[in-house]
């Protein structure tokens, strides 16, 4: 039993190394990489690690290549990408301290919410137009390029912009849309 516990704690340490340290150009590791390193019970190991990270306000986040997967198959779990993300959220002060300007964050909120409303993709011109409602015209283009460079948005060769890996990993899309839609109502209720 003691030996088994030791093996399990070693596996959790290995999972920490895999998930916290960047191994590829993009952060996170695929399910199959975890399986290769941790063995067949890798999903249990990840679950235990997730519980241990809770007091530190961190969690293991799983992102599927295809959105809207509710009941994943083993193959989909193997292909999914796993990240360590914050369990809670950050306030404006903390966001500023990690290098984000408030208007940059607002611009990202507008871009992401607009793309969600268009089922995950929209022409770049349309996003620039709606961004220009909040930012000067030149900043709209510049900010859009920044969001693409940082992996929140992607752009194909037809100028169509979509939500990229980082948005899927970091943003609770449903919550964002709910907060935007209920904005005026909450103020009225208050």
């Amino acid at each position: 039993m003691a030996k088994r516990m030791k093996t399990y704690s070693t596996k959790i340490k290995n999972a920490v190394h895999l998930l916290f340290f960047q191994h590829h150009r993009l952060p996170g590791v695929r399910g199959w990489e975890l399986k290769k390193e941790l063995g067949n019970d890798w999903q249990n190991v990840v679950e235990v690690l997730d519980k241990q990270l809770q007091p530190l306000d961190l969690k293991v986040t799983r992102v599927f290549d295809e959105p809207n997967i509710i009941d994943p198959t083993n193959a989909q779990l193997s292909d999914a990408r796993y990240y360590i993300t914050m369990r809670g959220t950050v306030d404006q002060k903390a966001a500023k301290s990690i290098g984000w300007r408030i208007d940059d964050i607002a611009g990202l909120a507008v871009s992401v919410a607009y793309i969600i409303s268009k089922q995950g993709k929209a022409p770049r011109r349309e996003i620039e137009k709606i961004l220009a409602e909040k930012l000067p015209g030149w900043r709209a283009k510049l900010n859009l390029d920044k969001y693409i460079q940082e992996g929140y948005l992607g752009e194909d060769d037809q100028g169509i912009v979509y939500l990229d890996w980082r948005s899927r990993a970091e943003i609770d899309q449903k919550k964002l849309v709910d907060l935007v839609v209920s904005f005026g109502r909450k103020q009225l209720e208050a």
């Binding site: 360590i84 914050m86 404006q92 990690i98 969600i116 709606i130 449903k174 964002l176 935007v180």
Partner: protein, 258 residues
Amino acid sequence: MSSELESVISLCRMVHSGKIEPFDVDFDYIMSVIKKHYPEIKDVREFCLDAQALKEVSTVLENQNKWIAHQSTTLYKDPFMLNQQLINMDIGSLADAFLKSWHPIVEMEQMSSKTLSNSLGYWGDLIPLDERWQEPEVEAKDTRYATRNEVHELGIIPAEGFGEIIEKFWRELGDEAGEGGTIDYWKWIGRDTYEETVYRAYVTVFLVSYGYANIDRNPLLEETMITHLEEPRPNPEQSKVSIPVMVDYEEWKYWRKE
């Protein structure tokens, strides 16, 4: 026929790229256009166009299906209402909404044995600064004259004039494609060496620009054809159309294999 079907294809592609909503397309009208043209198909090109239109229509149906699926999810909110809200909200409220739904990734960058060994290798191969910053040794030399033959041998001036080269190519095209005939672009420019192939592609550009030949591209069959003009028509007033054709090394190797 082709223009109507091409419009249908273009309309369907606009749906796929998100420029228009899937249900904004009049599906019955599109099908009536395809049905109307189907009995009139005469050649392979028109048949391919018809097939392409059908394929694009099927992607519209797929997008309509996705649209319904999206509307039935908890993520769906009326796009118009969402956009109005985005416009009405101030910067601070937008940032707040985002931060309440944002869980940033936590990651650490670190040195690994691999990066250390790569760095060591780089350091070992680095030439010392005093060698790298050495001034180039420049030797003063007296200038002298070169004969025309020497300049030709060096390849600075071609042995024949450019007009003559164009005329020679035009006659060669006439021989290969037949007077007023058409030949496949790669069959015309492709030669045993890559250098010669690029040279022929370069001269062909002028052959077309100066009105000695026409170039046509069929995007559906991915074919580019060169047509020999029996009488050169150098007409500077005529509007020019640019057709970029890739003649890179990989493409040439692929052609050679074929």
